[in-house]
Symmetry: C2
Subunit: 430 residues, 2 copies
C-alpha cells in the first residue's frame, strides 16, 4: 500500500471513508479489552497454582537455620529466600534484603526514606531546595509518579536501543549536585523492551556523581522475563552491582527485583540488592518501620521454585503464553501499518510491552479512538514525567492480559485507530 | 514473711546471703529463656496451621465480586477481608483499608506520610519547627521508636487503670497546636493490660484539638485477645470511631488492627479504620506507594476464619494456652513477693503482658540480674519514650513465649532477682 504521507487529498479522503466504515463496524462488536497494564493473563496465573500446595498444615515451617517462619523475627529475609532472589538478581545472598510483596513499594520507601532521613547520613531531601531525578523517556509511569509525589524535579533523558543517552546522564550526574537519582529499567525496558548495552552499564558504573547521595534506581523488573527459550534470542545485560564495585563506586546503585510476574502479582516477593553500606542504612530504617516481612510467603516461594534453574523453567511456560501474543500484535502492526509512514514500533525479546510511536500529535487521539471502540490502552503521555509527552506520539501497548483470541481483535482496533487518526492529521495539515 | 522495708540491716544481710545462694544455684541451671517480647509460643502457632490448607492449587481464587486474587488490582482490600477485619475492629467494611502483614508498618507509614505530605492537606510536619506526641507511660516501645525516629518530641502522660490522665491529655491536645498525636493501646494495654474506661473513651472523642491535623493513634492490638472465656471476665471498651462521630469529630482517630496474634505473626493481615476523609487521604498516598497488598493472604484469612464468631472461638484456644502462663507468673509474684513491699504488678484479663513496678532505681539492675541467670527481659526503660524510665522502676513481663514448664523457672529467676536487687538497694540506703 502507498505510504499515507505520499497520498494526495483525494486519496486520503477516500482512505478515510474506508477506515470510518471499518471503524463503525468494529465499534459494533462492542469489545471490552484491556491492553493498558502489564498484567499477566489467567493462563499465566494458573502456572503458579502449585505454590498453594507447597505449604500445608503438616508442613515443616522452619527455615534452614531452624527459625520458625510462622513467628516474629528475621528482619531482612530468611537465608534461602536471599539465595533464591539473589540468584535471580545475579548477586550473592549477602547482598540482599527481602521485603514484602511489591518492589514499587520498596522504591517508594527508598525515596521516602531519603526525603525524611537522607541517604547514608546525607542531608534529608526535605531540607534541600531542589532535588532532581533523571527520567529516561519513554519510561514507567509508576516511577515518575513516585518522584512527582515527592516534589522532585524530573528531567527527561532520551532512550535509544542501547539505553539512556549516557552523554547527557554523565553531564547531569557528574556536575549537578541536585541530581539524586535516575530511574532505570535496564532489561526489556518499560515500554520499549530495550536492554542496556555493556557500554551503557559500564558508563553507569563509572559515574562520579556530584552528589554523594546520588543513586541509580535499577529496577530490574524483567530480569528473567524472556520471550524466547533459545539463549541466542535472549537479551543479556552486565550485572551493575559488580560493575560498580569494580569501578570503585559500590554505593551508587539500588537494584530492585520482584517475582510479581513470576509467581502471583501482588502476592510475590520483592527485594533489594545493594552494597553493605546501603543495606546497613536500609536496615536501620526497616527496624523502626516493621517487625519483619511475610516469611511464610518467602518459604512458599523457596519451596515452590527451589532454585533459579527451576524458576527459569517456569519462565519458559510464561513465555509460551506471552510469545504468541506479542507476535499477534507485531504481525498486525507489520501487516497493517508497515510502509505507511505513520508509526514505528519496537520488537522486544522479553518484558511486557511494545512501544509505539505515532506521528507527532496523534497519540492522545489514537488512545481515545481505541477507547471508543472498547479497547483500553495506557493513557497517552503516561510514559513521560508529569504525563506530558512533548510530542504526543508515544503509546505503550501491553499485550499480556487479553486472551489470545481476543488480542487479534484488539490489535485490529489499534491499527484502524492509528490509520484513522493519522489520515485526519495529514488532512488537517493540508 | 516480713516486708523488706521493715527489716533491719542484719535481717537484710541474712536475706541477701540466702538469696545469693539461691541465685547461684539458679545460675547453675544454665537457663535460656525469653520473656522479652509478646511472641506467641509454638503451641499457639500450631493453632493456625489449618490456614495453610484453605488454599490449594485447585481452589477458587476469586473474591466475592469475581476479582481474581492472584492478579494485580484492588488497592484497599477485598470486600470479604474488609468485612472480617471490620467486624474485628467493630466498624463497617466501608470504614476499612486492608494493608500488608504489619500494623506497625501502617503506623510508621502514617507518621511518615504526615511528615512528608501532611494530614488531609495540612502542612507537612517536616516543614514545622516542632511536632509533639503524647505518650501514655509506661507504653509500647515500638510506638515510641517511630516518633523518635521522626524527631517528634514525646511527652509522658501517666497511665492509670482507667487509661491515660485525661486532664493532662485535654490540656495538651486542646491548647497546644504542636501536639499532633497520641499513642494509645486502649484495650489490655501494653504493658499493663489496662482497658480504657467508657469515660476515658468519651473524653477522647470529645477532644477539640488545637491542631487540625491532630490524630489519636488507636492501636487496638488486643481487641479480641481475652484470657478468659466468660464474658464477665472480659474487658469491653467503647468503640472510638463511632463515639467520635457522635461527638462530631469523626476525623480525629486512626484505628489500627492486625491478626498478628490471631493467625501467624508476620504473616497476618493488618488494617486501618478511619473516617471517609481520612481514608481518602490514605488512599491517595497508597496509590503511589503500591499497586496493592497481598490479596491471596486476605483470601486465606477469610476462608480460614469465615467470620468473627469463629475468630473468637479461635481466640479461646489461644487463651487456653496463655491463661496458665499468666497464672504461673502471677502466682509466683503473689507467693514470692506478696507483702514484701518491694514491687507491684498488674493482673491483666487479656493481652500479652504483665507490668511490674519495682522499687525506684531497681529496674535496670533486675533486668541485668535476670540476664545473668539466662532469662531475657525487655530492656528496662523500653516502656518509656527515649528508653528513659525517670524512676527506673517499670519492667514489662511477657509470659507468652516460653513453654509452660519452663515458665515457672523463668518466674523464679525473676522474683529472686527482684528480691536480691531490692535488698541491695535497701542496704545501700542505710
Amino acid at each position: 500500500m502507498k505510504a499515507y504521507i505520499e497520498m494526495n487529498r483525494e486519496e486520503l479522503l477516500e482512505e478515510r471513508a474506508r477506515l470510518t466504515e471499518k471503524f463503525e463496524e468494529i465499534k459494533g462488536r462492542k469489545l471490552q479489552l484491556d491492553m493498558s497494564r502489564g498484567k499477566p493473563s489467567y493462563k499465566q496465573l494458573e502456572l503458579s497454582n502449585g505454590m498453594m500446595d507447597v505449604l500445608a498444615s503438616d508442613s515443616y515451617f522452619n527455615d534452614e537455620t531452624g527459625t520458625d517462619c510462622r513467628n516474629y523475627g528475621v528482619l531482612s529475609g530468611i537465608p534461602e529466600a536471599k539465595k533464591l532472589m539473589g540468584a535471580m538478581s545475579e548477586v550473592g545472598p549477602e547482598d540482599m534484603i527481602i521485603f514484602g510483596n511489591s518492589s514499587l513499594n520498596i522504591m517508594f520507601d527508598t525515596v521516602s526514606r531519603s526525603f525524611t532521613h537522607g541517604v547514608c547520613g546525607c542531608t534529608p531531601w526535605c531540607k534541600l531546595d531542589k532535588v532532581k531525578f533523571l527520567c529516561p523517556v519513554p519510561g514507567y509511569d509508576r516511577h515518575f509518579r513516585i518522584t512527582e509525589y515527592f516534589g522532585i524535579e524530573m528531567i527527561n533523558i532520551p532512550m535509544s536501543e542501547t539505553g539512556p543517552d549516557m552523554d547527557l546522564v554523565e553531564q547531569y550526574v557528574n556536575h549537578d549536585p541536585a541530581v539524586k537519582g535516575i530511574w532505570c529499567v535496564p532489561k526489556y525496558s518499560n515500554p520499549q523492551g530495550y536492554s542496556y548495552s555493556d557500554e551503557t552499564v559500564r558508563r553507569f558504573a563509572a559515574l562520579t556523581p556530584a552528589a554523594e547521595d546520588f543513586r541509580i534506581y535499577w529496577d530490574n523488573a524483567y530480569s528473567i522475563h524472556h520471550l524466547y527459550e533459545d539463549p541466542e534470542d535472549q537479551d543479556v545485560i552486565l550485572e551493575l552491582l559488580d560493575e560498580c564495585r569494580k569501578a570503585g563506586h559500590p554505593d551508587i546503585v539500588f537494584k530492585f527485583i520482584s517475582t510479581s510476574k513470576v509467581s502471583f502479582p501482588g502476592s510475590g516477593l520483592a527485594a533489594v540488592a545493594a552494597s553493605p553500606k546501603n543495606l546497613e542504612d536500609i536496615r536501620k530504617h526497616l527496624m523502626v518501620q516493621t517487625i519483619g516481612h511475610d516469611k511464610m510467603n518467602q518459604l512458599r516461594h523457596v519451596r515452590f521454585f527451589g532454585n533459579l534453574p527451576n524458576m527459569k523453567e517456569h519462565m519458559h511456560r510464561h513465555a509460551a503464553i506471552l510469545r504468541p501474543k506479542f507476535q499477534t500484535v507485531l504481525n498486525t502492526l507489520d501487516t497493517e501499518l508497515g510502509g505507511l509512514g505513520i508509526g514505528s514500533w519496537t520488537r522486544p525479546r522479553g518484558g511486557y510491552f511494545i512501544s509505539f510511536d505515532a506521528m507527532e500529535g496523534c497519540a492522545k487521539a489514537i488512545v481515545a479512538k481505541c477507547a471508543e471502540a472498547g479497547v483500553k490502552l495506557t493513557p497517552a503521555g503516561a510514559t513521560y514525567p508529569y504525563g506530558r509527552d512533548p510530542e504526543d506520539k508515544n503509546i505503550r501497548i501491553a499485550p499480556s492480559y487479553p486472551p489470545a483470541k481476543e488480542l487479534k481483535k484488539a490489535a485490529d482496533v489499534f491499527v484502524t485507530s492509528v490509520k484513522l487518526v493519522s489520515v485526519d492529521k495529514l488532512l488537517e495539515k493540508m
